[in-house]
């Protein structure tokens, strides 16, 4: 669907995007992650044709953006960061204008607006001026703008930034819903969001891609070693410490602050990725201790992100 070849963008001498190669397949929801200033927005702006790349090429459905930027713009719906809409227009007028520019036939405009207002929850604000809207509502109008012509590709730049948790959940729901048929690329720096909505995650740092994989594989890949948290009811600390140490030769048992009153807590680490919980349980069954808590800490996207974007 979209091929990005060696994409580079310089602002004067500052290199914002440094030779990105990417291939995005049809029907994929791709999350673009990265710290502030990593080049996410610049990359998206080049994909939408707002910026010209310094070098490299973007090919959408076989069309190069350098020669066919108008045709490509017709295929892409774009929500810029913080939805900068025309602030002096009514929502209805604004969406009518967008519909006309997007080439929707006059007679189809009312039905299309109705569909979108239902999908994005705009029916109550259609006759309000854009500058009276709260940030979340503006974001929804922007989303309606992006989806106006039912484009095959949707590019959303931080669609949930500055929204409250309910609104974030709503927007995520909308993204998931339309993502069933459309190709969606969105940037975010909220990791749980990417984890919850994306099929595939690309992490960029300092203009370079540092990770590009499905969400699940990315998590598995980074999971080297495992950690288990264990709490026991009112046991003798040093005795427990000694017994746990005999589970396997290469584990490390560290005493932790008790998680609640009347328990002793430990963190048991291993350099191997196997699950230790089974061994721990079997060991404890030999004694008469009572387990208060036994959990395995899974490698989160956060830790992968920190790992990959270190040195910032």
């Amino acid at each position: 669907m979209i091929q990005v070849k060696n994409l580079t963008k310089y602002y004067n001498s500052f290199c914002a995007v440094d030779g990105i190669n990417l291939e995005i397949r049809r029907g994929e929801i791709l999350g673009l992650l990265g710290p502030n200033g990593a080049g996410k927005t610049t990359t998206l702006r080049m994909l939408t044709g707002f910026f010209k790349p310094t070098s490299g090429d973007i090919i959408v459905k076989g069309l190069s953006i350098a020669e066919n930027s108008l045709k490509i713009k017709e295929l892409i719906g774009y929500l810029p960061e913080s939805a900068p809409l025309y602030h002096n227009m009514l929502v209805f007028d604004y969406l009518c204008y967008v519909a006309k520019v997007r080439g929707i036939k006059q007679e189809n405009i009312p039905s299309r607006l109705k569909e979108l207002s239902e999908l994005c929850g705009l029916s109550d604000i259609m006759h309000q001026s854009v500058d009276e809207l709260s940030k979340g509502l503006k974001q929804r109008v922007g989303l309606a703008h992006a989806m106006m012509s039912d484009p095959e590709i949707l590019i959303l730049d931080e669609p949930t930034s500055g929204l409250d948790p309910n609104q974030i959940a709503e927007i995520r729901e909308i993204i998931k819903q339309i993502g069933k048929e459309k190709t969606i690329i969105f940037s975010t720096h909220i990791l749980s969001e990417a984890e919850a909505t994306c099929d595939r995650i690309v992490i960029i740092n300092r203009g370079k891609i540092v990770a590009d994989d499905t969400t699940q594989r990315l998590k598995n890949h980074a999971a080297s070693g495992s950690t288990v948290h264990l709490s026991l009811y009112g046991e003798d600390e040093s005795e427990a410490f000694r017994v746990l140490g005999t589970i396997a030769p290469d584990i490390e048992v560290v005493k932790r602050e008790p998680v609640e009153k009347g328990v002793v807590s430990f963190e048991i680490g291993s350099s191997r990725p196997e699950d230790l919980r089974r061994d721990i349980y079997l060991k404890i069954r030999e004694t008469n201790w009572i387990i208060a808590q036994l959990t395995r800490e899974s490698q989160t996207l956060e830790s992968i992100f920190h790992e990959l974007t270190k040195g910032n």
Partner: protein
């Protein structure tokens, strides 16, 4: 072509949504009306020559005020990004905005048609200079609109856009009067760039292709400049 109309229609409506349109039109009518009629009866001739002769100076301040927001505001608010990622070309945008500003200027001139109607009650008005005058006024406002749009595309600050636009327009207007500062060998060339003389000859009712060509080329250069600035930005 369809996109040009879409953009022009949106920008034109925008003028009348905000109070700017009404303020600018009122200001224009008060200033021209007062200057025109305060001396009208002293000359004792039933023509509009006086009205048209002050148009270049007034336009060189009013028109940049009309056009200053066309690009600056969009760049400042960020809606420029929305505009450029819709399927419209640079030419559509520049020409669309230009047509909206030109149409607005025509609306500004429209109420002044009441002047010749009024004058015709007290004397015979020669239709030649009148038609020429209005045609020249449209051409002149077109030229100044395209300069104003060019100035607006240069900066995100509307005040700066206004000052740049007004300076260029004002310079073109007074160029005829400052010719004695210029070496005599090039006066003729420089004089040709002055907007005032071209406008004056049209408003006398003499429709010369050179004058029309002058205004059309200023319009073209302004819009082409805007096109280049847009391309540079992206």
């Amino acid at each position: 072509m369809k996109q040009i109309i879409n953009i022009a229609a949106k920008e034109f409506r925008d003028y009348f949504i905000s109070p700017i349109a009404y303020i600018v039109i009122s200001l224009f009518l008060v200033v021209t009306g007062w200057f025109f009629f305060s001396t009208f009866f002293l000359f004792d001739t039933a023509d509009m020559r006086n009205f048209f002769s002050m148009l270049p100076i007034i336009f060189s301040f009013i028109i940049p005020a009309v056009t200053m927001r066309l690009f600056s505001e969009e760049i400042n608010v960020g809606s420029y990004e929305i505009l450029l990622t819709m399927p419209v070309s640079f030419t559509d945008i520049a020409v669309g905005k230009f047509l909206a500003a030109l149409l607005f200027s025509a609306c500004m001139l429209l109420p002044t048609i009441s002047y010749p109607v009024f004058i015709s009650f007290i004397g015979d008005v020669d239709p030649g200079p009148l038609l020429g005058g209005y045609m020249g006024a449209i051409l002149l406002s077109g030229a100044f609109c395209s300069i104003g749009i060019f100035a607006s595309s240069l900066t995100r600050n509307q005040i700066v856009a206004f000052i740049i636009g007004a300076s260029i327009c004002f310079t073109l207007t007074i160029l005829d009067q400052i010719l004695f500062f210029i070496p005599s060998s090039i006066t003729e060339v420089v004089a040709f760039f002055g907007a005032d003389a071209h406008f004056a000859s049209i408003s006398k009712g003499v429709i010369d292709s050179r004058d029309i060509l002058y205004f059309l080329s200023v319009i073209f250069m302004g819009l082409f400049g805007t096109y280049i600035v847009m391309q540079e930005k992206n």
